[in-house]
């Protein structure tokens, strides 16, 4: 690409910012700014500026786009963690070059996921203080917050740090503005044999830890909904596995997108080789198929539902006002499966189709996240409240888009201060 110049001393354009990079950054920051402005309206006027309303006589949905977005974002994060774990534990060496990308992606999405929760609550400052002050373990939010956000974030930070120390020590040997930073990051690292052995062990341990936290955190997110028997359409044992699988799928799909972008941006066809995309394609296929299976089971179960309220929710989703969204997302899941399956069966992989499948899956996932949150609130009320409605406002859209832009900014900045791909990683793993 015209804007990228690869210099050996600073791989991946680190430390140097091209005009294009700046333009994109400024544009993204403008979007973030717009989101911040929208949020400031919300702070001043209250959430009356959103489309959110009370469930009872007001007939609205108290949770909406923010929560759906949060689920999607942290899902990607948890998926990324699980993928790191899988690639380490199962020795999927082709995916190892992606590990840092995955780690950064997880941190970025957890970060904006946390922010979208903050955007949702009525008293953000009080929320931060009161959660660490009073948080109640019996609330599913406790798990979301402690395991889902804090533990995941902390362990990802640790992973990123440990994983990057060797890289940093190499970078620190080269001259440049960032040298001090690399020295700091690699402090104490000598690249001794003992250290390498410890590195191996730690990696394995961390892989296990990340895997557990990823699965557990995704499940806690699901419990926020799945344990609510008062909300027909939410209550169910399948919520947790569904969340885990969809988190994995969105994580893989997001990885495909990032990897493809970086491949194009950095022109690095070695790090982002065909084998990697083949693997990603096949993992995506597997997870999508599993999710379709979950969807099918959900569909069958809910169509036999004994409760009239749950039936109304099912009706609204399958036949009613949410039907377009449901069938669109279901169709997109199938399309993802088809796109990835055809390539896997034919044994011929086309990056474009893989990327297309990844995009489609994420769109499907966003719709699905929305379908998890909203219909259970507007439809199927247990008392004779009429059906409600929810239409997100510009404030919600701007805040969410602003947060998404923030994640990209996060990524772009990281790329400029640290090697996004570890060239040694592959070697190291292959050397085992």
């Amino acid at each position: 690409m015209a804007t990228s110049t690869r210099i050996d001393s600073t791989p991946f354009g680190m430390g140097k910012a091209s005009t294009g990079w700046f333009i994109i950054l400024v544009a993204l920051l403008a979007v973030v700014g717009a989101g911040a402005y929208a949020y400031s309206r919300q702070i001043v006027e209250g959430e009356i500026v959103t489309g959110l309303r009370d469930v009872g006589p007001a007939g609205g949905a108290p949770w909406g786009l923010y929560i759906a977005f949060e689920l999607w974002a942290v899902g990607i994060g948890f998926g990324a963690m699980m993928l790191i774990a899988a690639s380490r534990l199962f020795g999927w060496s082709h995916l190892v070059p992606l590990n840092r990308i995955l780690a950064v992606m997880a941190l970025a999405t957890l970060f904006i996921g946390g922010w979208s929760v903050i955007a949702d609550v009525g008293h953000p400052f009080r929320a931060v203080i009161n959660i660490i002050r009073y948080a109640r373990p019996m609330s599913p939010f406790f798990g979301t917050f402690t395991v889902g956000l804090v533990a995941a974030f902390a362990s990802m930070l640790v992973y990123l740090y440990l994983d990057g120390r060797r890289e940093a020590s190499i970078m620190a040997t080269r001259p440049g503005r960032l040298r001090g930073w690399f020295l700091l990051a690699s402090a104490g690292y000598k690249d001794s044999v003992a250290e390498r052995i410890r590195r191996q062990r730690t990696n394995t341990v961390m892989a296990v830890v990340l895997g557990i936290i990823g699965v557990f955190a995704a499940s806690t997110s699901a419990f926020v909904f799945g344990v609510q028997q008062g909300r027909p359409g939410w209550f169910g044992a399948l919520q947790a596995p569904g969340f885990v699988i969809l988190a994995g799928a969105t994580g893989v799909a997001a990885t495909i997108l990032v990897a493809a972008l970086l491949r194009a941006e950095l022109g690095d066809r070695e790090s982002f080789g065909p084998k990697m995309f083949k693997w990603l394609n096949n993992i995506l296929l597997g997870l999508t198929l599993m999710y379709i299976y979950i969807l099918l089971v959900e569909l069958v179960t809910s169509s036999y539902s004994s409760s009239a309220h749950a039936e109304r929710v099912t009706d609204a989703i399958i036949r009613g006002e949410y039907a377009w969204m449901f069938w669109l997302s279901s169709g997109l899941f199938l399309l993802t499966a088809a796109l990835t399956a055809v390539q896997a069966i034919a044994g011929r992989y086309n990056l474009r189709y893989i990327v297309l499948a990844a995009v489609i899956l994420n769109v499907a996932a966003i719709l699905k996240r929305y379908l998890i949150v909203v219909p259970g609130l507007t439809v199927g009320r247990l008392l004779p409240y009429p059906e409600g409605s929810y239409n997100p406002t510009w404030v919600e859209y701007l805040v969410v888009i602003g947060l998404a832009a923030l994640a990209i900014v996060f990524f772009m900045v990281f790329m400029k201060v640290f090697p996004i791909v570890s060239s040694q990683n592959g070697q190291e793993s292959e050397g085992e």
Binding site: E45, G46, E47, I48, T50, L52, R53, D54, V55, G56, P57, A58, G59, G60, P62, W63, V117, D120, V121, G122, H123, R126, A127, N130, I131, R133, Y134, A135, R136, M138, S139, P140, F141, F142, F145, V224, Q228, Q229, G230, R231, A308, L377, R381, L382, L383, P384, Y385, P386
Partner: protein
């Protein structure tokens, strides 16, 4: 320690909604927030139409889903049976609202001071009321509860927090009936200590065949109803402004 509860006689209720207004005046709830709500419903088809009314205060469940999900302990169960909201602690996540199958929670989406029905900044009104918002603001709502010393009566309502029926804790702690029970023109609402077999509520409960809303959900409500609940096909009619004109 008394264990308060409420018995609502649906065979007496005529859906006049006096309880809703009395609640609003006593608790100064802002527009669109109904701590007490009265459904007016119809079932079946003309001419076999059945008309039902269902007053819906907070059910003050013994096994309250809202208490379980509150991430910061702002929603809690009191020993006297009341389910209370510490509005100074609430972070406004609305999880209680989402968890409650009865839809009793109200979130202050707008600034309550600007959502109190009339423009109270009128100079002539201010000179008469000392700037109270609303003009009939009840100062008792600012007091801390006697039982645990937390602010649970609602005060002047706070933007960004959730609130709901308190059983008029500020009145109950003074030995008075909640505003809805006090006002009901047809004496359909009886409030009292359900542990005391001599209380009016206990006697009413004993004398009547009662049910609880969604009792198969195991929420164990402290509100009991005499009569029959609205059926599956009940349609709500005569909805308030928030449903007719799309909010406040």
């Amino acid at each position: 320690m008394p264990k308060y509860g409420m018995v609502i006689d649906l065979e007496k209720c005529v859906g006049c909604r006096a309880c809703m207004v009395a609640c609003k005046v006593e608790n100064n709830t802002p527009e669109a927030n109904y701590w007490m709500y009265v459904f007016r419903t119809e079932e079946r088809e003309y001419p076999d139409t059945k008309v039902t009314f269902l007053p819906r205060p907070c059910q003050h469940c013994d096994n309250a889903p809202c208490v379980k999900v509150c991430p910061v302990g702002a929603r809690f169960k009191r020993e006297d049976g009341l389910v209370a909201t510490d509005w100074e602690r609430c972070i406004g996540c609305r999880y209680c609202e989402v968890a409650c199958p009865y839809g009793v929670n109200s979130f202050n989406y707008a600034d309550p001071k600007k959502n109190q029905y009339l423009d109270w900044s009128d100079a002539d009104i201010e000179s008469a009321t000392g700037g109270a918002v609303p003009g009939y603001a009840n100062p008792d709502l600012d007091r801390k509860s006697q039982l645990e010393g937390r602010k649970i009566a609602g005060s002047n309502h706070t933007k960004g927090v959730v609130e709901k029926c308190t059983f008029c804790v500020q009145k109950v702690e003074k030995g008075q009936n909640p505003a809805c029970a006090e006002t009901c023109p047809v004496f359909a609402i009886t409030f009292g200590d359900l542990d005391d077999p001599e209380s009016a509520a206990s006697r009413k409960l004993k004398a009547s065949k009662t049910f609880q809303l969604l009792d198969d959900w195991n929420t164990k409500p402290r509100v009991h109803y005499v009569g029959t609940p609205p059926g599956e096909g009940a349609r709500e009619i005569e909805r308030p402004k928030t449903r007719q004109t799309g909010g406040v």
